[in-house]
Amino acid sequence: MKISPSKIISLLFFIFSGFYLYTAHQIQVFTFDEDAAFNAKTFPIYLGYAGLVFSALYIILPETKPSNVDLKVLDYKKTITLVILMILYGLTILRIGYFLSTSIFLVLSYIVLGERKWIWIFILSFPFVAIFMYLLHGLLNIYLRDPFLQLIGVMG
């Protein structure tokens, strides 16, 4: 028997709702609030049950409009690479600073997506980020931590 991906997602949501409900029951409320008509865990408990009901209904009821997705045409390679690049961007943004990490992220993303116009790759990375940083830091007074620019003396 073949189970549709939407039903698998609903099953995962059912499990998630069960976990949410369990965690909701574990919320520590004040002793005097235990028997109150409403306390910090009342709403989450209802939500947990609602999640269980809707996902169970989807699993049990026949699918009227199945979502047809051709898994063979999906571009896993580029998508996963972009996600990894974003994680690395998040990892480096505080350590090496906004300017370098953003510019490198942009250059690598353009290349991963197949761009080979090197002049545009350059313009839309380092100078573009520098102008953007000037707008934020110089004009809008939004502080941007950048150890690299501080090291070379560009930023105070």
Binding site: A24, V69, L94, T102, S109
Partner: protein
């Protein structure tokens, strides 16, 4: 009211705010024009910037972006048959055939004039309806608000899910679950934080909007290996033809616009219905109103067929502000994003907004109108140039969207945790989108989560823990009955479809 209008005009006509409307309309047009990116993404990308401004300025910018994005969506519908947003799908039925006949300029002009006229008529309605409804809504109590919020969520799920009602309801629950993370507002008890300090303040609204719209839309384009800009490269965008309309064409528009505006505004006010339904209904209605000869032209480049949905979708946009400004309850995903931004400014929309912050209330209404004027006089002549944006390669477009998303959230929190969480939510949202789990109900639920819990808390405490508050007041009873009707109809429709 007159005094309020003057306050609004004064605020909206300040140099800074006029600049913001212009920037908003321009940026919104460009973003809305890009296929796959709609007003929600456009507004989401603007939120981090608006937090540096006064609330009225921020909202004016967002209102400009909203109208600009709707106009941009129409442009891509007409020029490349790729609607930027669902609300402009009906525009492509007659707009694209006109463009293929070499009348792209004319089609764009009809779209712009119709949008302007629809928006103008709807703005007048809004001007009259909003204060009156504000007074009426003062009679609403917590149970009514709680009921209205469930009604809004159910209606959005029913109308926006395109036959995937249960999936939409799961998204509603997920949105409410995400909103419940963090300290309880009344008791400060941490919930679902797993002893992580980064979660104690809850999940940021901007983070969720950016992740589920901007970032996940960009990832979906790559994942599905779509190149929405490919078609644009194949057509000559500089040869759009004349934008002048003759007498006969103007006459046709004059008859279509008033009826489509009224329909659009009424549909826009209803929770969940929005511009998509308004534009389709207006298209259908117009087809029934015209003579047989004109009826034959529908789908082949009819002026009435283009003017009707364009008028209605803009009128619906204005209409959707009525429940937001008067009840504090958004009726659509886009207005939910605006509500989230308002809450971020520390402003609670609702019946009292009209009295407590009249400058915001009126300046937003006035800015909408100014925005439409700007769209007409600034964007229309610039369309041949703006349309070149359609040909921006996705190899540049996608990384830039990802960059703006990450930067947006980084500027708000300055920590890596939020960036990772945003990437995680975006990846999950991309998979969910792939299998038609709609995102607007999730956003609406996330925004309403706190308010819903608050109103349920008050209702249950007043009724001493009894759920009888749901049927004690006639108004609540009517709301609950409507919810049951919507849910029942959706379930019946599912079974009936399967059997037939």
């Amino acid at each position: 009211m007159i005094e309020g209008i003057f306050i609004g005009l004064e605020t909206a006509f300040s140099l800074k705010n006029l600049m913001m409307v212009m920037i908003g309309c321009f940026a919104g047009t460009i973003i809305g024009m890009l296929p796959g990116l709609g007003p929600m993404t456009a507004i989401a990308l603007m939120i981090p910037i608006t937090y540096g401004f006064e609330p009225s300025t921020g909202l004016i910018l967002m209102a400009g972006v909203y109208y600009g994005a709707v106009f941009g969506g129409s442009t891509s519908s007409i020029l490349i048959n790729a609607p930027g947003i669902p609300g402009t799908v009906a525009t492509s039925f007659d707009g694209y055939p006109m463009a293929q006949q070499g009348k792209a300029g004319k089609a764009l002009a009809i779209a712009a004039y119709s949008s302007f006229a629809g928006g103008t008529i709807a703005a007048i309605f809004l001007l009259i309806a909003a204060p009156s409804l504000s007074k009426v809504s003062l009679a609403f109590r917590s149970p009514d608000y709680f009921g209205l919020m469930i009604l809004g969520l159910t209606a959005v799920s029913a109308f926006s899910a395109k036959g995937h009602f249960l999936k939409a309801m799961m998204m509603v629950v997920l949105g409410l679950m995400l909103a419940s993370v963090g300290q309880d507002t009344l008791s400060d008890i941490p919930r679902f934080t797993f002893q992580n300090m980064n979660l104690s303040d809850g999940i940021s609204f901007v983070l969720v909007v950016m992740a589920t719209f901007a970032m996940s839309e960009a990832l979906t384009i790559i994942f599905k290996a779509n190149d929405p800009t490919k078609v644009a490269k194949q057509i000559s965008l500089s040869q759009l033809g004349s934008i002048k309309l003759d007498k006969e064409e103007t006459k046709k528009m004059v008859t279509t616009i008033p009826r489509s505006s009224i329909l659009g505004f009424i549909i826009g006010v209803l929770p969940g219905a929005g511009s998509t339904i308004a534009s389709f209904l207006a298209y259908g209605m117009e087809r029934n109103f015209v003579n047989d000869e004109e009826k034959q032209k529908f789908g082949k480049g009819s002026i009435n067929g283009l003017a009707a949905p364009e008028t209605a979708n803009n009128a619906a946009c204005s209409g959707s502000f009525v429940p937001l400004l008067t009840l504090g309850i958004p009726g659509s995903g886009t207005t939910a994003v605006m509500l989230g931004a308002l809450l971020g400014f520390g402003i609670q929309p609702g019946p009292r907004l009209y009295q407590t912050n009249p400058e915001i209330f009126w300046s937003v209404i006035m800015s909408m109108y100014i925005g439409m004027v700007i769209l007409l006089i600034l964007n229309l002549p610039l369309i041949p140039y703006i349309a070149r944006v359609l040909a921006t390669p996705r190899t540049f477009l996608i990384p830039l969207i990802l960059f703006f998303s990450v930067t947006g959230i980084y500027l708000m929190s300055f920590n890596n945790f939020d960036i990772y969480m945003m990437i995680g939510i975006a990846v999950i949202a991309t998979i969910l989108r792939l299998y038609d789990f709609p995102m607007p109900p999730l956003i609406l639920a996330f925004v309403l989560g706190g308010l819903m819990e608050e109103n349920l808390r008050r209702s249950l405490l007043i009724s001493d823990g009894s759920w009888s508050f749901l049927w004690d007041r006639p108004l609540t009873l009517v709301i609950m009955f409507t919810i049951i009707m919507i849910v029942g109809w959706q379930i019946f429709k599912s079974f009936w479809k399967k059997k037939s």
